[in-house]
Amino acid sequence: MDPILDVQNLSIRYGGAPKPAVRDVSFTLGHERLGIVGESGSGKSTVGRAIMRLLDTATITADRMQFEDVDLLAATEAQMLKIRGKRMSMILQDPKFSLNPIQRCGHQISEAYRTHMKCSKAEAKARAIEMLEQVHIRDPERVYDLYPHEVSGGMGQRVMIAMMLLTSPDLVIADEPTSALDVTVRLQVLQILDGLVRDKGIGLIMISHDLNLVRAFCDRVLIMYAGRLVETLDAKDLDNARHPYTRGLLAAQPRIGGSRAPLPVLEREASWVNPQEAV
């Protein structure tokens, strides 16, 4: 099976920054769910935005960055406009900020559809309402006419998911999709996302700082530290991680029924920043 996304030796340097924010990151993505885990500042979100080609001020270099039949390194902005939102899309962290506060939710969802499909307003609205049903919103007609400040966080994020999956993209990047939500609705939103991703056969990149969440919802996990990839693992093999950083992260997780001794503190080593040995 051809990979959806193939990234080789991706480096990203922001304009004016002395050091690259991301260095030599390589991975491929098939029809699977890939998690990227790392602490804040590790460059995980930057990778997602670089794939979407949203970083205007950054210099992106890579040996290869191929999305299906598109070379993302060479694609013009005009080509990207046709790809973004149609063939790849991204779910952002906090619906409080990622939805336009002065436009109705429904309008924002159907805009995603109307940008890429030639259709009437009524048709786009029908599709949007259908999609709202698919993200388990009970009264889609009503929610369609609500403003973002009138819906809860969980509902807002479901609106976001509806907006981003409406065009049936092949690749969805979910950038911390549940970190801004109440703990009680996190699981529900994730299950909705997971269900849709499976049904539609979408390749998913889940960016998160939450190891447990990624372990539960992804097939494979990339661990990033200080802009580098330190380890790539199958989710079920996470406990067999070799890299000391990953092991340190795992050890720092509290467990119900586990030992009540103080959790170990992650000890960092300077050598982790060096290039990753072949795993």
């Binding site: 979407m52 949203l54 902005e77 406009l81 046709k82 790809i83 973004r84 939102g85 149609k86 899309s89 991204m90 952002l92 962290q93 906090d94 900020f97 990622s98 939805l99 336009n100 506060p101 002065i102 436009q103 924002q108 805009e111 995603a112 940008t115 890429h116 403003y147 400040h149 976001m160 907006m163 981003m164």
Partner: protein, 340 residues
């Protein structure tokens, strides 16, 4: 619903605060009017009036009464719209102002259309190109507009475009030739001349208004540009802009469909503020262009020491300012769904 109650409360609150501000306006104009060292009675009766006449007027004006009673009288006069007569024209002051105000409003409106029409797009362009050359050029242009003494620029512009090149009409609202030809209905010359079907007067008026309006428009464009730029910069880094780009919208669509909608509310306030500031610019520019408007009326009364007329003018400007504030408040509620 608590939200409804809150809204009522805030409406009552803003009504109250408007009343308080209006009252403050009265106190301020009263205080300024009374603290002048020049003798207001002398200004009315003239230098060689007899002592008897002088004291008569003195009592008529209520100067023999204690201050608080004088203030009450002042309040009564204002509430009954009785502002007295102008020394210079012998007409009721309010009537005078009603006659001259349209000329200024015409000028200011023309200017704000230019100012907002130029300033808003320039501000957006500057923000989108932050720190690149279009931003720098626009920055210099707008700082220059903020720095020019408008009365001087007015004279230089008259020298070049009227005396030198002859492209535009000179002083006044229209050529001397046409004065008195148009029946005065609204006192807005552009409207009156169209109503009367006198197109040559209309063109003469356009020819005369264009230069002062451009200058005033430039100075308000300078202000509007700076503000638009900073509002826009705030929006451009918001996450919903990223969302719009992720959806596949182009930069231009993102800016105008999403970011611009979010600064509309702030822009309305700024444009209202700029419109008020134009009244100030009009005082100077009307003197240069011999524009028979509110500013000239104020200045000429000031120079002859007719405090009554001056304070009425100041009061009216204050009321116009408050009115603009209320207007922008209302528009705020209309444009921003979160305040509904």
């Amino acid at each position: 619903m608590p939200a409804g109650k809150l809204r009522l409360n805030s409406l009552a609150g803003s009504a109250l605060s408007i009343l308080v501000t209006l009252f403050g306006l009265l106190v301020l104009t009263f205080v300024i009017g009374r603290m002048m060292p020049a003798d207001p009675v002398r200004a009315i009766v003239g230098e060689d009036a007899t002592r008897e006449v002088y004291e008569n007027v003195y009592r008529q004006l209520g100067f023999d009464k204690p201050l608080w009673q004088q203030f009450m009288l002042y309040m009564r006069d204002v509430l009954t719209l009785n502002f007295g007569t102008s020394i210079r024209t012998g007409q009721p002051i309010l009537q005078d102002i009603a006659r001259v105000l349209p000329a200024t409003i015409e000028l200011a409106t023309f200017a704000i259309i230019i100012g907002a029409g130029v300033g808003v797009p320039l501000g957006v362009i500057a923000a989108v190109n932050k720190d690149r050359w279009p931003d720098q050029v626009i920055r210099i242009i707008s700082l220059l507009g903020n720095s020019m003494p408008i009365f001087w620029t007015g004279m230089i512009a008259l020298l070049i475009f009227y005396a030198g090149l002859g492209w535009v009409g000179g002083s006044g609202r229209m050529s001397q030739f046409y004065i008195g030809m148009v029946p005065e209905r609204t006192n807005f010359l552009l409207i009156d001349s169209v109503l009367a079907g006198q197109w040559d007067v209309f063109w003469s008026a356009i020819n005369h208004i264009i230069l002062p309006a451009l200058l005033l428009g430039y100075s308000s464009a300078a202000f509007i540009t700076r503000m638009t730029r900073s509002f826009m910069l705030d929006q451009i880094n918001q996450e919903y802009i990223t969302t719009a780009r992720v959806k596949g919208l182009s930069r231009r669509q993102t800016i105008w469909r999403h970011a611009f909608g979010n600064i509309r509310v702030q822009l309305v306030t700024i444009v209202a503020l700029a419109y008020g500031a134009l009244l100030e610019g009009a005082v100077l520019i009307e003197t240069v262009f011999a524009w028979p408007g509110f500013g000239q009326y104020l200045t000429s009364n000031l120079l002859i020491g007719d405090m009554n007329a001056v304070m009425t003018c100041v009061l009216i400007v204050g009321v116009i300012f408050i009115g603009l504030n209320i207007l922008s408040d209302i528009l705020y509620r209309v444009f921003d769904p979160r305040t509904r």
